[in-house]
């Protein structure tokens, strides 16, 4: 253990005893010798919430908001649908810790151990080109954050949400928690009480940029809950493309990721939010992601989920302005012991709105992939249209898939399509590829890559490469 400075020695020792038991079977399951400098210890009480807020030197209203959320969290029941969460030990989590006590703007200043982690994760491949404009989350806190000149010149604000609360308190106060209310679900309440880090982006009116804004996340301590809070506001006629990727090391006990994301897309604006997550097989990823699209605005979710123990994630778009568009394109891969319970929610609340959900999933070695989605046409949704498409490949007999679509239609003048398909790897395709000398494992991988290609082609190139690598890794050994 390094002699890292710490404000909480007792807790630090406790951490030492529980440190890294490196996952042998998980490529990204390594851990670096980064000692968190500050932590609130295990478990959650009102005092913890106050401590987090004080440590961050927050305004009164945020402390009060956190406290209300904490009480809401205590009262709310666990979700009454979806996967079993009874193994999730919420009393034994670390709710807050900080890896470094200042923000890094310059890559050179980032500590070597953290750099090594990013190197081994392949982050530089995805980030080097854009490094100047990236922020990466490491242990509940933004470690480096270097705003690209172009973003600044354009007036785009890109920082951690903590920072934004200090620098742009009015904007944060105006939007924070208005789309995802603290009482939306138990984990939204939990996040509202203990949130830390996450990305804040504000794109001013008329500002458009094609350069993706990227951020990389990583949990790196056993039992550390990660509760980012992301807030994106795309003002009228502006456009933004935000990309985040996550991987986590493989520790011995369960870890929780409960993020809240709120995205506001104003009139004629465009937002694409791309996520690739590759949690290690002990992480519960229980997220609440919601966007609002106003008149003629477009919101696109692109969401890739590999790994985790259990993922529950149903990004939604509230189509609140006439002519608004919402899309969800997702890929989920579930291996042994993994439950991917994902979907989307499209709420058509204005005339002539349209939505599209394309969900692709792969289940293997007894994994479970479920699609759970909602499409709602409110009374005022004349002329609206929704398309839902679910495609699943089951790699073997033990793996499962469920499609749970929920449609609520309160207007007669709307149209909706739904297609669902579950298949196996086609024998005919496999035979054809193998007849050219390609071994079965490689042939299977090619077919799978082809299956997810409609998804990967939407990603920035570096991420497509990384996702392909991750999926190839997941598929290894899946052919007998």
């Amino acid at each position: 253990m390094s002699e890292a400075k710490t404000k909480n020695t007792k807790n630090n020792e406790e951490l030492e005893n529980t440190v890294p038991d490196l996952g042998e079977d998980y490529d990204y399951g390594f851990s670096d010798d980064v000692q968190p400098i500050y932590s609130t210890g295990r478990g959650l009480t009102e005092a913890t919430v106050r401590e987090i807020s004080a440590e961050k030197d927050e305004p009164e209203w945020m402390l009060n908001y956190r406290l209300r959320a904490y009480r809401t969290y205590q009262k709310m029941p666990m979700p009454d649908f979806g996967p079993d969460l009874s193994d999730l030990d919420l009393d034994h989590m670390l709710y807050y810790q900080k890896a470094t006590d200042r923000q890094y703007r310059d890559w050179e200043d980032v500590p070597d151990t953290i750099k090594n982690t990013f190197d081994r994760l392949g982050v530089p491949e995805a980030e080097r080109k854009y490094l100047a404009g990236s922020s990466a989350q490491y242990e509940s806190e933004v470690v480096y954050h270097n705003m690209r000149e172009e973003f600044e010149k354009l007036g785009i604000v890109f920082m951690s949400t903590d920072q934004a609360l200090k620098e742009y308190p009015e904007i944060v106060k105006k939007y924070f928690g208005t789309l995802v209310h603290m009482n939306d679900n138990k984990f939204a309440a939990l996040n509202s009480a203990v949130w830390s880090g996450g990305t804040f982006i504000y794109v001013p009116k008329g500002v458009k940029t094609d350069i993706p804004i990227q951020s990389y996340f990583r949990i790196n301590a056993e039992n550390s809950g990660q509760f980012e809070r992301t807030l994106i506001i795309v003002d009228k006629d502006a456009s933004v493309n935000y990309v985040e990727g996550c991987t986590a090391p493989n520790y011995s006990s369960d870890s929780l990721h409960a993020a809240v994301v709120e995205v506001f897309v104003e009139d004629d604006a465009y937002c694409r939010y791309t996520t690739i997550q590759n949690w290690s097989k002990n992480v519960y990823s229980l997220e609440t992601k919601r966007a609002q699209a106003m008149k003629n605005a477009t919101m696109e979710w692109v969401d890739g989920n590999l790994g985790s123990k259990t993922t529950m994630k149903y990004p939604s778009v509230y189509l609140d302005g006439e002519g608004a568009r919402g899309t969800m394109l997702s890929i989920a891969v579930a291996g042994e012991g993994v439950i991917q319970d994902n979907g989307a929610r499209m709420i058509h609340a204005a005339p002539n709105t349209s939505s599209s959900i394309v969900s692709k999933s792969i289940s293997k070695d007894g994994g479970a992939v479920n699609y759970r989605g909602t499409v709602r046409f409110d009374r005022d949704s004349d002329g609206s249209f929704a398309h839902v498409e679910c495609d699943t490949i089951l790699m073997d007999e033990r793996s499962t898939s469920d499609t749970v679509p929920f449609n609520e239609i309160l207007n007669g003048n709307v149209a909706m399509e739904h297609e669902a398909k579950v298949s196996k790897i086609s024998e005919e395709q496999l035979y054809y590829l193998m007849s050219r000398g390609i071994p079965e494992a490689k042939a299977t991988e090619m077919i799978i890559m082809g299956f997810v290609e409609p998804f990967t082609k939407e990603l920035p190139m570096e991420y497509a490469v990384e996702l392909n690598r991750l999926i190839a890794y997941e598929m290894e050994g899946s052919v007998g």
Binding site: S426, E427, E428, Q429, Y431, Y432, L433, M434, S435, R436, G437, I438, P439, E440, K442, A443, M446, I447, M449, G450, F451, V452, E453, P454
Partner: protein, 262 residues
């Protein structure tokens, strides 16, 4: 010189649609530097023979052997047979979404090379461009998804393109001429002829004599009722064209029903 020998091959198919013995003792031997043609009426087992040689798991060998250079191929999976030197140009190649033609061919070539020595992109592209030109194919074909939305003719050309890229020892071409107009057939023939030489042999399965006007075979075999009933030189094809399969059957005194007579 390489050799491919089929010995007393009996093959059954047992699946939802069919339960029967299709090949009833096929014998055939060919070397590199030779082109053999197999002709025969519909439903006589020509495609079964080619798929069985390649190792399609749908077909079960009940008797006999397939021997490549003295070594039996029985029990070997299709990819091993391919790497051992066999290639099957298929009648109905599969369509694969999301996998480009170029990516597919590169993987096929690399499957034959040591893992740490893949073909260089440059060499691959040079070779690909040369063969696309030879087959009068658009460059864009390389970047399209494998057989996805290809016309019948495009699929056939694409099979020949793979043949030229992979350079197998023995190619079995299963009705590569079906559905082709005369110009397309000439292009396909040009491709196959460009492969002819000491290191290559082809077994061309066809229903009509027409293709053999462009690829002159060294040996012609006629299959009927699951067996090779007659072999000869190129003139046998011409004779068949004139007299028909029924004529040959009657001449040989065979008790075989031709499906076309139904």
């Amino acid at each position: 010189m390489a050799n491919l020998t089929i010995k007393n091959l009996h093959v059954r198919v047992d699946d939802e649609s069919e339960h029967k013995e299709i090949l009833k003792g096929v014998n055939l031997s060919m070397n590199t530097n030779e082109v053999h043609a197999i002709m025969g009426p519909n439903g006589t087992g020509k495609s079964t023979l080619s798929e069985t040689i390649m190792g399609n798991p749908r077909y079960t060998i009940t008797e006999g052997d397939i021997i490549l250079n003295g070594e039996s191929l029985l029990g070997k999976p299709v990819d091993e047979r391919a790497r051992a030197g066999l290639f099957l140009g298929m009648q109905y190649p599969a369509e694969i979404m999301g996998v480009t033609n170029a990516e597919f061919m590169r993987s096929a070539i690399n499957a034959r090379r040591p893992e740490d020595d893949p073909i260089s992109v440059r060499t691959f592209i040079k070779e690909l461009d040369k063969n696309l030109e030879l087959l009068d194919m658009n460059e864009k074909m390389a970047e399209r998804y494998l057989n996805q939305g290809f016309s019948g003719g495009e699929k056939k050309r694409n099979e020949i393109l793979q043949l030229l890229m992979i350079k197998p020892t023995f190619a079995i071409l299963d009705e590569i001429d079906s559905g082709l107009d005369i110009d397309a057939m000439k292009v396909v023939a040009k491709g196959v002829n460009s492969m002819r030489g000491a290191d290559f042999g082809a077994l061309i399965i066809t229903h009509y004599e027409r293709l053999l006007d462009y690829i002159t075979p060294d040996v012609v075999h006629v299959m009927m009722g699951g067996k090779v009933v007659k072999s000869g030189d190129a003139s046998l094809a011409t004779k068949l064209e004139e007299e028909g399969y029924a004529g040959l059957r009657d001449e040989l005194g065979l008790d075989v029903k031709l499906t076309d007579e139904d």
